[in-house]
Symmetry: C2
Subunit: 180 residues, 2 copies
């Protein structure tokens, strides 16, 4: 951030009075521009013993598989966001159910919020940001072609929970991948 | 938003190609400025049968009582944010425990995330944004002087859960107060 979005003057990075962290503050109108983490909302759409996955048509991770999820929008609930993303990415209608996982990803200032969901019909297809949509049983999931650590972790727990006959809520923190 | 924070030129509200919602887009450098909901993170600090509450020294709801909570910051986890807010508002150290509640507040584009927490010692005091800090048993809570609907709802459920001997996770949507 270089300019104030309110008045167009320059901003400087400083700790405002009464605050503890540096913020972008306008040198002219003195507006403080806070920056906060964003939420990714999505779901695991279920149809009998299979779940719906999407093959990404966009970067990052073009061509890899994920659950439908994306940035939560202003004015919606987490559940509404999860259903909207599923409609956008897979043209699929779901009834959103229990909160299933909340992962912190502090190094990119994101929180990942995933629900279980009931797929309402089989009339799904690839949305604009998706190459392909499919239903996968546990042994059909493309485990070596999953797009994100959050997806791998969530689906591993999901099928373990299913095996145990009880879906528990999962939470944790995703650390950055350390390259050798 | 009137100006691009990247280049200082004007922004216009339009639906970018491939998008479905109007965004602030720079007329010069074409940066798309997304706006997303923010998270409020906090906790219910517990000490035996009492919980810690803070009397607000800031608007909104100056002079009314709340649990320690505030805007989540970039680079932290939800738990770290809850502990930081408790330290800032009540100079209190907590061990953050289970996720207790997640409330959507779509009309102000916020998501409220609350944990249970164990207060580690009694060496607490009012922080800069707090007039007074205290420990309250259920019948001592200032029920008619609580700051927010989320706080009232959470504490009502909390003491009901305690009575039932089981703390369940709670989620829901807070609607705007309709003035007559």
């Amino acid at each position: 951030m270089k300019f104030c979005c309110q008045c167009g003057a320059s901003v400087e990075l400083r700790i405002p009075a009464g605050d503890t962290l540096p913020r972008h503050v306008c040198v002219s109108c003195e507006t403080i521009h806070y920056q906060n983490p964003r939420m990714i909302v999505g779901c695991i759409p279920e149809w009998d013993d299979r779940i719906l996955l999407c093959k990404r048509a966009i970067e990052p991770r073009y061509g890899l598989w994920t659950v439908p999820a994306g940035f939560m929008e202003n004015g919606e609930t987490t559940c509404q966001g999860a259903a909207r993303e599923t409609l956008e990415e897979a043209n699929a209608r779901v009834e959103v159910g229990q909160l299933y996982a909340l992962y912190n990803i502090p190094h990119i200032s994101q929180v990942y919020i995933l629900f279980r969901a009931r797929l309402l019909d089989l009339d799904f297809s690839a949305g604009a940001e998706t190459l392909e949509v499919g239903l996968f049983a546990q042994d059909e999931v493309p485990w070596d072609q999953l797009a994100f650590a959050t997806v791998r972790r969530t689906l591993t727990q999901y099928f373990r929970d299913r095996g145990n006959g009880e879906y528990r809520f999962h939470t944790g923190t995703i650390e950055p991948v350390r390259k050798p």
